[in-house]
Amino acid sequence: MYRLLNCCGKSKKEDVMQIQKDIVLFGYGTFGRQLYKNLRSRGHKVKIVVGLDDYVEVESDSGVDITRINIKRNDDILALNVNAAESIFYCAMNKTANNLFLVLTLKSLYPQANVIANSNSNETTRKLKYAGATSVIDLYEATSRRIVNVLTKPAVSMALDEIVYKQNDLQMLEIELQENTFLEGKYVSEIKFRQMGIILIAIIDKELGYELVFTDHRINHKLDAGDILVIVAKKENISKFQEILKKG
């Protein structure tokens, strides 16, 4: 279910956990711009593609590189020369119909491609998923949750702000366990994650067919190579943790 993208292969020393990706972003509207900004701040390489007659608002000094193509033509998309297996496609066009068409095109050209599309309702999400989108980002779902949380669970909303939305020391990330780490063969309860300044939220278990297991202590999970840990921690603690992992 979760196609994994070689997450924790080689990592650079100074920015331990972030891996640069090649990203193709279709559409540069309000959402596209925000996406671009966030992707760039995380160090990804982004190529922006827009339709021939889409209006694009670009500040002259922003250095944004935009390619214009006819998105209806396969040749134009093939001419972008994208390594589909290594890249992520974002369909963030303003019109739902265009996104849907784009997902269909990309999936038919590159069946293995990782395609993310934006949607504005359950209805659109259903169609995009059917068309083959790997994941769908609902423009309003997360926002509405946030608005409701501020009213009913202010602490939760502020905690999520700290962990997810604000660019600060705290980060949520995933770590794939390599062979021969000290964690291999151990049970989750044996490891003092908290003392390492790390909170383990969930595990994707390879043996269970990539099933998502939340670690709210109902199951004492045994860790193996290939498992993916989803953790929240401060950056320094993540670096330390990865150092320990490397030592084996």
């Binding site: 959402f31 608005i147 939340f214």
Partner: protein, 517 residues
């Protein structure tokens, strides 16, 4: 001459500053005039009972004499109640002591002697304004039947029935409809009076001269004209001459026209009024709630938010500018009204001063949202306002207007999208937690005073047994309600009452801990 003046003034000031006096007056006002006051209902029911009993006695008295004690009840009790009510209404209508103070202040400003004459006339004028109001006149007439000297006054008991209008809201709604179409109805009344007048005179001229044995005078002719034009047509007086029959035929046609005209005016007026009546009902229904959230805009985002609020048990009302959207929300089973949220009226109606706690501006138009936010903030800056926005520049302006939370859907979604690029698994976990698609949710638990977590160290709490993952704690502080977020607090961290734990876990696990609190 100096002394009494001062006495009057000091008495007026005494009333102005007296807490007890003002409290009593406020209570009386609420009880008899304020529809929002919860005990007014009991007063209304009591008055309706008194009126109905008095009307029943009138009817019973027609055929047989009622017992003496019942007559006394009617004469003394009912009359007393009405007189007292009349006087109380006159009392709360305005404040005499304020007039006195104003008068004295004005005269001292101009260094003049206070003129008793102008003071007196001002007071009388003020109260007179109440006495000549429509409802006050009805009230007064309703008291008259208590005077037993004139039997014809007994009929005025029916004015007591009129008084009932005061105590029932739906009936006032009907009167309002008539009042609204006053001009049209008056035109029609004049027109029909004119026709009746003409037709009556014509018939009298043609048949009054012994031609028709039933028409003795002009009154009979007018009576006949009204019965015919209204299409009632008793037939006790019928025209006998060809001329009279031609007049009849003409006024029958005009009659049909007039009747259908009246009907259509009243029906259309009711239709116009219907949405207002429904709005009133919705406002009244949510009016009982203490903390109310107002959602402006029922678009894609509005719908999702409303669904979330419903699930969390938040009391809310939807306002949408478009009639169609308001109807959709209403049909979805929510409290919804069609209103312009950029105007103050609707918020005042809903209780901006004490009832509304949150306002969410979620229309798809940024400028509209800014407009609503400023409107609400200018009415009451205490209300927590959340505004949706897609433009950074407008967001800055909203923050300048002290909007408490400016949220940009594109920004939130953009951030989520960027998380996916580096951490696809973390993204899915995040999505499932945020959108609550699985049973594991993120939740908060406030530590209650004296509960088993109060004054405990984190290390002493077995979160494993509680089946919860502790993300962090909001330490209560003096300055802000939530305080600072402390991520993954150490074992030595001491929990106190008022702190908030942020946990991830099964909803039942959270409920379990909350129960233990």
């Amino acid at each position: 001459m100096e002394k009494p003046k001062h006495k009057l003034l000091s008495f007026a000031y005494f009333l102005e500053s007296s807490k007890v006096y003002n409290k009593i007056k406020k209570f009386v006002y609420d009880l008899i005039e304020n529809d929002e006051y919860k005990y007014k209902r009991y007063f209304d029911i009591f008055m309706i009972f008194v009126i109905l009993s008095s009307v029943t006695l009138l009817v019973m008295d027609v055929k047989r004499h009622i017992p003496h004690w019942l007559d006394d009840f009617d004469l003394y009790f009912v009359t007393t109640v009405f007189v007292v009510e009349y006087l109380l209404r006159m009392w709360v209508y305005s404040d005499i002591h304020k007039i006195i103070i104003d008068e004295y202040e004005e005269s001292s400003y101009f260094d003049k002697e206070v003129s008793y004459y102008s003071l007196f006339t001002n007071i009388v004028k003020n109260k007179w304004a109440y006495m000549v109001s429509f409802s006050a006149i009805i009230d007064l007439i309703a008291i008259l039947p208590s005077y037993r000297g004139l039997r014809v006054l007994r009929v005025f008991v029916l004015f007591r029935a009129f008084k009932m209008l005061r105590y029932t809201k739906s009936l006032t709604g009907f009167l309002y409809v008539l009042k609204n179409k006053k001009f049209e109805l008056m035109t029609l009344l004049t027109l029909s009076t004119f026709f009746i007048f003409i037709a009556g005179i014509m018939l009298y001229v043609f048949e009054g001269d012994n031609e028709n044995p039933n028409i003795h005078n002009l009154f009979d002719a007018f009576y006949w004209a009204l019965i015919t034009i209204s299409t009632v047509g008793y037939g006790d007086i019928a025209p006998v001459t060809p001329e009279g029959r031609i007049v009849t035929m003409l006024i029958i046609f005009t009659g049909i026209g007039l009747i259908s005209f009246v009907t259509s005016i009243i029906v259309s007026s009711f239709n116009e009024r219907l949405s207002v009546l429904r709005e009133d009902r919705v406002v009244q229904e949510v009016g009982k709630k203490k903390k109310l959230t107002v959602v402006c805009g029922y678009g894609l985002l509005g719908r999702l938010v409303v669904k979330g609020l419903q699930k969390e048990g938040v009391e809310f009302i939807i306002i949408d500018r478009s009639e169609e959207m308001a109807a959709v929300a209403y049909n979805d089973g929510y409290h919804a009204i069609c209103a312009d949220a950029t105007k103050g009226t609707i918020f005042e109606k809903l209780g901006i001063d004490d009832r509304i706690s949150h306002v969410l501006c979620l229309t798809s138009d940024d400028i509209q949202n800014a407009f609503i936010a400023v409107n609400v903030k200018s009415l009451n800056s205490e209300v927590y306002v959340t505004a949706r926005c897609s433009d950074q520049e407008i967001a800055t302006k909203m923050e300048y207007a002290h909007v408490d939370q400016v949220i940009m859907p594109e920004e939130v979604a953009g951030m989520m999208g960027a998380v996916y690029a580096g951490e696809p698994v973390a993204f899915e976990v995040l999505l499932s937690i945020i959108e609550e698609k699985e049973k594991t949710h993120i939740n908060e638990i406030a530590i209650a005073e004296g509960s088993f977590l109060d004054n405990k160290m984190i290390g002493e709490v077995d979160f494993e047994r509680l089946r919860l993952i502790l993300l962090g704690v909001f330490k209560r502080s003096e300055e802000s309600k939530l305080g600072e977020f402390i991520f993954n607090p150490s074992d030595e961290f001491v929990l106190n009452a008022g702190d908030n734990l942020v946990c991830i876990g099964y909803s039942t696990a959270v409920a379990n801990l909350k129960r233990k609190m």
